[in-house]
């Protein structure tokens, strides 16, 4: 099981690196919002991995909070995005 945890952590780290690359590189602010949404999803996945690995349930509230933050953030930025590139 420990090996699986390391494998999952490695895959998540690679995915996080790609998403952060797009967040830094993204030509428009919408690309950055999208990439940061994916970063939040990966953080939530990492929280679940932590819960499964250490056999506790402390992060469930954080999971809901993270999805709420992602929703509010992307909706707010998309609402106020303007035409200039």
């Amino acid at each position: 099981m420990t090996v699986v945890m390391y494998v999952v952590g490695g895959i998540l780290a690679v995915a996080l690196a790609f998403a952060l690359f797009r967040a830094v590189r993204g030509p428009s602010i919408l690309d950055r919002v999208l990439a940061l949404d994916v970063v939040l999803a990966i953080i939530g996945a990492a929280l679940v991995v932590n819960m499964v690995a250490n056999r506790h349930l402390d992060n469930l509230v954080l999971l809901v909070t993270i999805s709420l933050i992602g929703f509010i953030g992307s909706v707010t930025v998309a609402r106020f995005v303007t035409d200039r590139k």
């Binding site: 699986v4 994916v38 998309a78």
Partner: protein, 164 residues
């Protein structure tokens, strides 16, 4: 042992969803195609991870909380994706040469045409009314006018943004 295997498979599947989203974000050429890639870990990846957590814990008490978490994500992610996609379409953050079909373009063109017609047609109406009644006519356009330009004003800005 069996639960360990199930948990491992579910978690690796969820992690691969995240990896697919990361690769898609880095490689895809367009905001809309990147949005297509970005929704995988938000819904399916989260579902797989929550299933792994439920199987690993093995209690039914946990299930309502996990369902709440997943349903919340399921309700919010289409809304935010809709907002981002609409903002991207309006500010032309998309490559039209990659689109096979743009249904919204027809709708916008038709709305712009209909709005131009509607903008011209109310003009003769008060003019036709003017000779008939002398006194109250200056009042009538004043009442109608603020309402008339305001309604097309919203769509007009949208249409002009797309056309420009």
């Amino acid at each position: 042992m069996a639960t360990d295997v199930v948990v491992a498979v579910l978690m690796i599947g969820g992690a691969l969803m995240s990896l697919a989203a990361g690769i898609g974000l880095a490689r895809f050429p367009d905001l809309l195609s990147r949005m297509h890639a970005a929704t995988k870990p938000q819904v399916l990846g989260l579902l797989l991870f929550l299933l792994a957590l439920a199987v690993e814990n093995g209690t039914w008490l946990l299930v309502p909380v996990l369902v709440l978490c997943w349903v919340f994500q399921l309700l919010t992610s289409p809304v935010s994706a809709h907002m981002v996609g609409r903002a991207g379409y309006r500010t032309r953050h998309l490559r039209r040469d990659l689109l096979t079909l743009d249904e919204l373009d027809d709708v916008v063109a038709r709305a712009a045409a209909g709005e131009a017609e509607a903008h011209e047609s109310p003009q003769p109406d008060p003019a036709a009314g003017t000779p008939a009644i002398g006194g109250p006519v200056p009042v009538d356009p004043a009442v109608v006018d603020p309402a008339a330009p305001r309604a097309p004003g919203g769509t007009g800005r949208r249409a002009r943004r797309d056309r420009a």
